[in-house]
């Protein structure tokens, strides 16, 4: 479904991504791991079109999407959540997800119908499936951090994607919240047929859900394999030697 080859991106001399490669097949759960500053978030920005790569190729379902505008990539079926919570702070939980649903349905130039009556059941369904159903009318600023991270995923789901890209979905979450998110991710794959690409620092979580793992270091892909193979890979062990606990 997703093929990344020889991707490069540098910022004023600093090379953030240096020849990364990645393959994600339909229905898989692929994790990207690596020390801080390895270029994981930049990679995600490149895939979702937020940044144009300097060189290399990104193919989604055989279509080249490198350098394509983010809203077009989303329409093709790729949605993402952000590492640092990036929601519509002034709107309610319901409104946040509704924006994504309305955008997906192409209703965004509708000028005269009241928005609050549109796409209600679909939005409520999404909120229920992530466990935020009873908090629908709350203003986002009042949510706990964990709930905000889940809202991140809910917004991405509003676009009904085929490929869901999650940037550190459990960062800053408590163990219960992490377990809940893990269960959610498994359900998304099993019940909704989503393909998930995510990056994480929580190794326990990664190893319990990922079909394959890609390891990045200093912008390069140093391994791309099944979890066990990655765990015993000497280069990977070297990269993580001396790594302090994730933030």
């Amino acid at each position: 479904m997703l093929r990344v080859e020889a991707l490069r991106k540098s910022f004023e001399g600093f090379v953030a991504v240096n020849g990364a490669r990645l393959a994600v097949d339909e229905g898989e759960v692929v994790a990207v791991i690596g020390p801080n500053g390895a270029g994981k978030t930049t990679l995600f920005h490149l895939i979702t079109g937020q940044l144009p790569p300097d060189s290399g190729s990104i193919r989604f379902r055989e279509t080249e999407i490198a350098g394509v505008a983010p809203h077009k990539i989303c329409r093709m079926g790729v949605a993402r959540s952000y590492q640092v919570v990036n929601i519509f702070s002034r709107l309610s939980v319901f409104d946040n997800v509704q924006v994504a649903v309305l955008a997906r349905r192409g209703k965004t130039f509708n000028l005269l119908r009241p928005a609050r009556t549109m796409a209600v059941s679909e939005t409520r369904q999404i909120l229920k499936s992530v466990g935020l159903g009873d908090k629908a009318d709350r203003v986002c600023g009042l949510l706990s951090h964990g709930d905000q991270k889940v809202l991140e995923i809910a917004i991405a789901l509003g676009s009904r994607p085929e490929l869901l890209i999650l940037d550190e979905p459990t960062a800053g979450m408590s163990p219960e919240e992490t377990a809940q998110t893990l269960r959610l991710m498994k359900r998304l794959v099993a019940e909704f047929g989503l393909t998930i690409l995510f990056c994480e620092h929580d190794m326990g979580m990664v190893f319990s859900i990922a079909n394959r793992i890609m390891v990045m270091q200093q912008g390069q892909t140093i391994a791309e394999d099944a979890p066990e193979a990655v765990r015993s890979n000497p280069r990977v062990q070297e990269a993580y030697l001396g790594e302090t606990a994730p933030c």
Partner: protein, 318 residues
């Protein structure tokens, strides 16, 4: 459609207000009727600005251009062509909308301050043209004694016309703010990056917003011509644009009727203080300075993207 947005109580209040406004000419002198018409027109203009400023988060530094352009468009159509007045009244705001699109196409790809500054320069260009083109626009004298249709000519008629048009325009704008487009537009204000990530073509929506705001500014322009019978380049001058922003700030730019309130305050202040002293600008200036100085940081601040629960609840939805 209207039922879904307005509670019975709100409709009642609106009806009472409209009734009072409709009865006003029967009780007030011609001067006050003229004043109220002016407040309505300025309030409409400020509300149209707030569509893109408060609800859209765009640094609209020269909104007055669209106002003046609509006024001139109507004037030129009435004085230089044989077009029926009704057609002119409908076409003039469309001209403003087109100008909004044209200027928008040039400016929208920039963000924030740079957007505002390019808009000021383009707007000033349009003003300079109007200011110097004596043969066409009357230059710095403007055009006076415009042939307003008889139906709308009298002070009272102009007032009722303004009242009806302003009420209709406000209703339309309110529907737009609460429509899916309005939601997305506010989403673009708070988080354009996220909007792109969920498939929203931000530039296209912003252009549409500019055209809509320009349209209603043009409507206000045509009303001004109806009430005043004249048009002049000052309608497109940057000082008016800044005054409009102040009106939005004063009344509250996250509240739908805020700009209307701000406009009412400033026009009233100007008129009544002006009765007592010729230095009303001084009073206005001092009041504004005090307001801005003592306003706690961020209450009416242009806090884009900052999570403010209180402000979020005050978003103009009823």
């Amino acid at each position: 459609m209207i039922r879904a947005l307005f509670s019975g109580k709100l409709l009642l209040v609106a009806a009472v207000v409209l009734a009072v406004l409709a009865a006003a000419p029967l009780m007030l002198s011609r001067f006050y009727v003229y004043l109220m018409a002016l407040i309505l027109v300025t309030g409409l203009l400020a509300t149209s600005l707030n569509l893109v400023l408060g609800f859209g988060g765009m640094y609209q530094f020269h909104h007055a251009v669209f106002y003046g352009f609509g006024a001139y468009a109507l004037t030129l159509m009435l004085t230089k062509t044989g077009m029926p007045a009704a057609a002119a009244y409908l076409l003039a705001p469309c001209c403003s909308a087109v100008l909004g699109l044209v200027i928008g196409l040039i400016t929208v790809r920039l963000t924030k301050l740079y957007f505002g500054m390019l808009q000021i320069s383009l707007g000033s260009l349009v003003w300079a043209l109007a200011y110097r083109w004596y043969s066409f626009t009357g230059g710095d004298d403007g055009i006076h004694g415009i042939p307003i249709p008889d139906l709308l000519y009298a002070s009272t008629s102009a007032y009722y016309f303004s009242l009806i048009v302003v009420a209709a325009s406000l209703l339309l704008m309110y529907l737009i703010v609460n429509s899916p487009f309005g939601r997305i537009f506010q989403g673009i204000r708070d988080n354009p990056e996220r909007c792109r990530a969920v498939g929203v073509d931000v530039v296209r929506h912003q252009l549409a917003g500019q055209a809509i705001a320009g349209f209603f500014a043009g409507v206000a322009g045509t009303l001004f011509v109806t009430v005043e019978g004249s048009v002049f380049p000052e309608l497109m001058f940057w000082t008016l644009s800044l005054e409009l922003i102040i009106m939005c700030l004063l009344g509250g730019w996250f509240v739908f009727l805020g700009p209307m309130l701000g406009a009412a305050i400033i026009v009233t202040l100007r008129t009544f203080v002006g009765i007592y002293t010729e230095y009303w600008t001084l009073v206005l200036g001092v009041v504004l300075m005090l307001l801005i100085f003592f306003l706690p940081e961020g209450v009416l601040g242009f806090a884009l993207g900052k999570a403010r629960p209180a402000a979020a609840e005050a978003v103009g939805e009823k």
